[in-house]
């Protein structure tokens, strides 16, 4: 089959992007995978080390636990918010949506520091609690799993809200009317019709947040403690402190595999194309 100029044209446009990705992404990625099994000679010891050392397995477990907590928290906070936005007039909703998304353009670092100020021993939250007499001593929220989950939930919330909102916007309000006309109260119509129809959004938002969570670094590194280390922190420590790039590569490969698994689940349940679409 001869490709016409028309067919070749669009591919030519891709060349710079493909070249860039090959040099700066594919090549280092392969390098990393190779290092995990060939540093210095062909070996599986970097992987067996991970399995044999309970502390490292704990890090993996912690990573999943935190990701799950963050995903659930983002869902619990994001669902009502997205529902509220989806019921507003488009103009109002768009305006409020901007308010949800704008923080997302600020550096993660800045937002993490803001939470550290809020949640610290001398932070606003503790001052309010002390002022109200609800606690007698400042709560030690910072540098705990709680503070990590709070910080990460806040940072990843926009992804959840956007995913939910775009699906909720697409739900025909007539369907709720129909359910009501068929004898459902408003609450039952919501549970029987709206909630099931919003499930693609829940799956999309949940997987998106989970995928972003498991590789999160800045927030857990700054707001957490070492006992609740996530895998990315462990990787960084291997590279920066212990110069163990083989082990770091093995850890990174595992993180990559977990992320890909989640992506696969996402594709199965939602369809990857949904990631880039605004509406159903």
């Amino acid at each position: 089959m001869i490709l016409s100029r028309k067919a070749v044209g669009p591919w030519l446009l891709l060349t710079p992007a493909l070249l860039f990705l090959c040099i700066f992404f594919v090549y280092p990625l392969c390098n990393m995978l190779a290092r995990s099994a060939f540093d210095p000679a062909p070996t599986l010891r970097h992987y067996t080390r991970l399995i044999n050392e309970p502390a490292y397995l704990r890090v993996l477990l912690t990573t999943f636990e935190i990701s799950l907590s963050v995903t659930l928290s983002a869902l619990v906070i994001g669902y009502p918010l997205a529902y509220f936005l989806s019921q507003l007039k488009l103009r109002t909703a768009n305006f409020l949506m901007v308010l949800v998304i704008v923080p997302y353009f600020t550096s993660v670092l800045v937002r993490t520091y803001a939470w550290m100020v809020l949640l610290g021993t001398e932070g606003i939250l503790n001052q309010v609690l002390l002022g109200l007499g609800l606690v007698t001593r400042p709560l030690a929220i910072m540098f705990s799993r709680t503070s990590v989950v709070i910080g990460m939930t806040y940072i990843l919330l926009p992804y959840m809200v956007l995913a939910l909102y775009s699906v909720m916007r697409g739900i025909d309000t007539h369907l709720l009317h129909a359910a009501e006309s068929l004898g459902a109260g408003r609450i039952r119509a919501f549970w029987r019709v709206f909630v099931p129809l919003s499930m693609p959004g829940v799956a999309a938002g949940g997987l998106l947040v989970a995928i972003l969570s498991i590789g999160f670094f800045i927030t857990p590194a700054l707001m957490g403690n070492q006992q609740d280390s996530m895998i990315s922190m462990l990787i960084e420590a291997q590279v920066e402190t212990y110069f163990d790039w083989g082990f770091a590569s093995a850890l990174a490969s595992i993180l990559l595999a977990c992320t890909l698994l989640l992506f696969l689940a996402y594709d199965r349940m939602v369809g990857l194309n949904r990631l880039f679409e605004a509406k159903q």
């Binding site: 009317h177 009501e180 006309s181 068929l182 029987r192």
Partner: protein, 377 residues
């Protein structure tokens, strides 16, 4: 198409009544002090252009929209403050509104589950409903796997499966193509006949309204301009709005000379005298408009004048050849212009050229007249 011998809806339906119902949107009345009574088992169509208030009226009946004032009752029970789920009305929406995440059977079961019916009972009812709408093999399909017409039938089945007191239909056939629409019109009519259900039907399609209804309510500006049988709406429009909304009409101004029998005699501004009738018996000297449908005017060339008939002379201004029909714009002696519509056969296939003189025969029946000046409502 629906040929069930067993009556599906046990109750025959209920009377619906709106009294002085008003709905304001941003200070403007979408529905303005509307009174409407739909008798038990009656098929009433709300007909109007978009923005006339017909859908708002239906939504208030269904309970999705709250009336700002007035009273709505179903079977004598005041439901003005009742939520939609408690009104026991079957609603069919323009886009069917089938639940996309449920199968056809689950869609049909939904209202029965809401009413806490037993499993077996639900299963039985669903099967029976599917048979009635001729979709017994589609129970496990999802709505998106059905054609538009099939979806429409499922929506219909879902709206009647729980024995509602009445059926409300909001432009239910709007999304179907012409053939399917005509087919469904007949099905709905049969359903109405076999169920004896009270139906309120909203449409902007006058033909649909005339074909299907016992009575048509023509709506304009949040009010009912006229409610009457399809024949009366067409033949005896109460006012200029209805006369021009339903089909086409020529309005010939004239003055009442005096009564004669059931009707009265009107002298047109052209000088011609006509035997007329109207909604009211006018007093001599009253100004009236004779409502003449283009298709009721027989057109003769000068040479063909039948001496027994009273005709009006005019001159062809413009012609429109449509194959089976020919439309003429004719200028009368006093400058009044009117449209005629004749079959090609009636004119022997000859189109009178512009400028040619014609004689117009308005027929032997008395002509319908409406007051030239309408009383403010």
């Amino acid at each position: 198409m629906i040929q069930s011998t067993k009556p599906f809806v046990s109750r025959g339906g209920t009377e619906l009544r709106l009294e002085g119902v008003t709905k304001l949107y941003a200070g403007t009345a979408a529905v303005d002090r509307l009174d409407l009574t739909v008798a038990q088992g009656e098929f009433v169509t709300l007909l109007g252009a978009s923005g006339s208030g017909k859908t708002t009226t239906l939504m208030m009946l269904a309970g999705f929209t709250q009336a700002d004032s007035g009273r709505i009752s179903i079977g004598g029970r005041d439901v003005t403050a009742l939520p939609p789920g408690k009104r026991n009305l079957g609603v069919v929406f323009q886009n069917y509104s089938l639940f996309p995440h449920l199968t056809v059977a689950q869609n049909l079961a939904f209202p029965l589950e809401m009413r806490k019916l037993g499993r077996a009972e639900i299963k039985d009812a669903v099967l029976r409903a599917l048979e009635i709408v001729h979709l017994p093999d589609k129970a496990e399909r999802y709505p998106r796997e059905l054609s538009g017409g099939q979806q429409q039938r499922v929506a219909l089945a879902r709206a009647i499966i729980f024995h509602p007191q009445a059926l409300l239909m909001d432009e239910p056939l709007g999304a179907l193509d012409k053939n399917l629409r005509e087919h469904m019109q007949i099905e709905i009519k049969r359903l109405h006949a076999s169920l004896g259900a009270t139906i309120v039907f909203v449409t902007h399609d006058q033909e649909e309204a005339l074909t299907m209804s016992n009575r048509v309510a023509v709506m304009d500006n949040g009010k009912i301009a006229q409610i009457a049988s399809p024949r009366a709406i067409y033949e005896e429009p109460l006012n200029r709005f209805v006369a021009s909304f339903i089909g086409q009409s020529n309005f010939l101004p004239g003055k009442v000379l005096g009564g004669r029998g059931d009707g009265f005699v009107v002298q047109l501004t052209t000088g011609d005298k006509l035997n007329c009738r109207g909604p009211h018996q006018p007093a001599p000297g009253d100004e009236v408009l004779a409502v003449v449908r283009p298709e009721h005017i027989a057109v003769y060339r000068e040479a063909q004048i039948d001496g027994h008939r009273k005709t009006i002379s005019g001159k062809v201004v413009d012609t429109l050849y449509l194959g089976h029909t020919i439309k003429l714009e004719v200028c009368l002696a006093d400058g009044t212009r009117l449209m005629t519509q004749s079959t090609s056969a009636a004119l022997d296939g000859v189109v009178p050229p512009p400028g040619s003189a014609v004689q117009l025969d308005l027929g032997s029946r008395s002509i319908w007249c409406i007051p030239a000046v309408e009383e403010a409502k």
